[in-house]
């Protein structure tokens, strides 16, 4: 008797699951429409885009892309964006892993205070301090250098990185391993780089992903500190073409697309790691 009913239940559940799946697929399709719209519009003429906004383009025009590519000086802008992102992310990972580890292992008044100080940064939008920030950057002589953007981006992301590293070390890096190394007479820095750092791989992935998105999508810092077009980034190129008196909206869509394309590709290929990376940052709250 009991077995029969449980089979029935599971059958019912299966049907339910199929319906749920169909429902979710429909929701996901609706969810995806804006991005689909962005993609198809880039290939259309203005007329076609207004006449049949959601249809596939009748002719796949790529002139729009060529124009956008040239107008945005794309290769150069992309190169700058890459340079800034890679350097910033590398610095963030290095300095926040060190600090996060130290803060996780230092349970005294000073450790707490320093950690609090870092956490406060999560609450202060840096835009609020633009005027003084600008003066500081200028007085160090970093004006119009990508290093200004890199260092400020690092400063913006330091709190989050430290938070993630600290949490991770506290929960998943066993102290015993380190103690064993200490007995072996390892120097403290060697211990960190040889033993602790490899154990931190998962959280490094998380930090890299989150910070890459943050730095890549940061608009204000390049806008403030990079004055020459030679050094500017993709988002600046997008906004400069969307300036108040720009007019051709079908020419704009390919620019938006080129603006997001590198991240789109990054996401499509790394999708699994990105999702799990972001998730890993959250498991231990």
């Amino acid at each position: 008797m009991r077995e029969q009913s449980s089979i029935e239940v599971s059958k019912k559940q299966k049907i339910k699951l199929v319906f749920t799946e169909i429902f979710m697929i429909v929701v996901a399709i609706i969810w995806f429409i804006p991005i689909y719209y962005l993609i198809v519009t880039t290939f259309k003429s203005p007329q076609e885009a207004t006449l049949s906004p959601l249809a596939l383009p009748s002719v796949w025009r790529i002139e729009n892309y060529i124009d956008a590519w040239i107008n945005m000086e794309y290769p150069r802008a992309l190169g700058n964006t890459l340079k800034i992102t890679i350097l910033a992310v590398a610095i963030i990972v290095l300095v926040t892993s060190l600090a996060g580890y130290a803060l996780a292992r230092t349970k005294n008044k000073w450790g707490n205070r320093v950690f609090l100080l870092f956490l406060a940064g999560l609450m202060v939008p840096f835009q609020m301090n633009i005027v003084s920030l600008f003066k500081i950057v200028k007085s160090i002589g970093l004006m119009n250098s990508i290093w200004a953007v890199i260092l400020v981006d690092v400063a913006i992301n330091v709190p989050q990185g430290i938070f993630l590293f600290k949490e991770f070390v506290e929960s998943s890096v066993p102290k015993e391993l380190e103690e064993a190394a200490e007995i072996d007479g390892c120097s403290i820095f060697r211990k960190f780089f040889v033993i602790v750092l490899p154990l931190m791989k998962p959280v490094i992935a998380t930090v890299v992903i989150i910070v890459t998105l943050n730095v890549w999508n940061e608009f204000m810092t390049p806008l403030l500190f990079i004055q020459s077009r030679q050094n500017d980034v993709i988002l600046q190129e997008v906004s400069r073409n969307i300036g108040q008196f720009s007019t051709d909206w079908t020419a704009l869509f390919p620019m938006l697309m080129l603006g997001v394309a590198p991240l789109m590709l990054f996401y499509i290929f790394m999708q699994k790691y990105i999702i799990s990376g972001v998730a890993a940052g959250a498991v231990k709250g």
């Binding site: 995806f32 230092t106 609450m123 988002l235």
Partner: protein, 300 residues
């Protein structure tokens, strides 16, 4: 020197602590804390774009101005609405989506990818895109479709709606992010709990409220705290969609800070506004932290 000795006694890293923390600390102090410190000091002076040298101490005058400027009150109100609604929907939509995508669906991986997709992009570009989708003209996707079915134009950018239109796009963008974090939390809940519950005859809905909800506390806490803070700080999406308009309908703390505190050159008042804002965010995060820990206490 004395300080270092003290550390040597208490921390396991001893005086190496400072070496480990230093690189991050230096950059952070220089580019985050020091500017903030200046802002704090400026907030008590008569600093403005036409008065940049020989600053005078003016006491709390700038703070009084902040509280007497209706625009700033509107901005704080809008930012609060923005943060609360965005965070609320991230939880309300993100949780069930995560719960469903945690089931054994064949397409769950691609579905997760689709929902997370918008979170990859810059809010600036998302704003520009939605700007076109929501335009009242025939070039706007939504109104184009409405007109096709013979329906009236739906204006997304009236004074009453503009803020919610922007929030809507941000919900679309960030729900996937919340979903992923909820999913991670869900996967950490042992399936045995559900088995036990179903043996006890608990239905699916009961299971969701009795088991899932309480155990989701950690991830909900993350989304609520980061969502509220992020929402209060939001700038890019507003900037690219409405720039604060029409009128003052979508002015938020950040847009007003940029306009008044920087463009119009009221540096000192802007600084005071920034400090007030910092205090508000501090209170909000302290408050939510308290509530959330009460919640987790009541469960355990």
């Amino acid at each position: 020197m004395r300080k270092m000795k003290k550390k040597n006694e208490t921390g396991s890293l001893g005086h190496y602590f400072i070496l480990f923390v230093l690189p991050a600390l230096v950059i952070y102090l220089l580019f985050s804390i020091l500017p903030f410190f200046y802002t704090f000091i400026y907030s008590f002076t008569d600093y403005s774009d036409i008065h940049i040298k020989g600053l005078n101490f003016v006491g709390l005058k700038n703070y009084v101005t902040v509280f007497n400027t209706s625009l700033m009150k509107v901005a704080i109100k809008n930012s609060l609405i923005y943060a609360v609604i965005l965070t609320g929907f991230q939880v309300i939509l993100g949780l069930p989506i995560a719960a469903v995508l945690n089931k054994k669906l064949k397409s769950k991986n691609i579905l997760r990818a689709v929902f997370f997709f918008p979170a990859v992009f810059s809010s600036l570009i998302i704003g520009y895109l939605w700007n076109f989708i929501m335009s009242s003209s025939d070039y706007g996707l939504i109104n184009n479709l409405l007109h096709r079915f013979g329906l009236e134009t739906f204006n997304f950018f009236t004074a009453d709606r503009a803020l919610f239109s922007v929030i809507f796009t941000q919900i679309w963008q960030w729900t996937g992010w919340a979903m992923v974090i909820f999913l991670a939390n869900l996967q950490g809940i042992s399936p045995e709990l559900y088995e036990a519950a179903s043996i006890d005859g608990a239905g699916e809905r009961q299971q969701f409220f009795k088991i899932t909800m309480p155990l989701m506390c950690p991830s909900v806490k993350i989304i609520v705290v980061t969502g509220l803070i992020g929402g209060m700080k939001a700038f890019d999406a507003i900037y690219s969609m409405t720039s604060g308009g029409p009128g003052n309908a979508t002015e938020t703390v950040m847009t007003v800070m940029m306009k008044k505190g920087i463009s119009d050159g009221f540096y000192a008042v802007g600084s005071a506004f920034g400090v007030c804002f910092f205090v508000i965010v501090l209170i909000i995060s302290g408050f939510t932290n308290k509530i959330m820990s009460k919640w987790s206490e009541s469960i355990s």
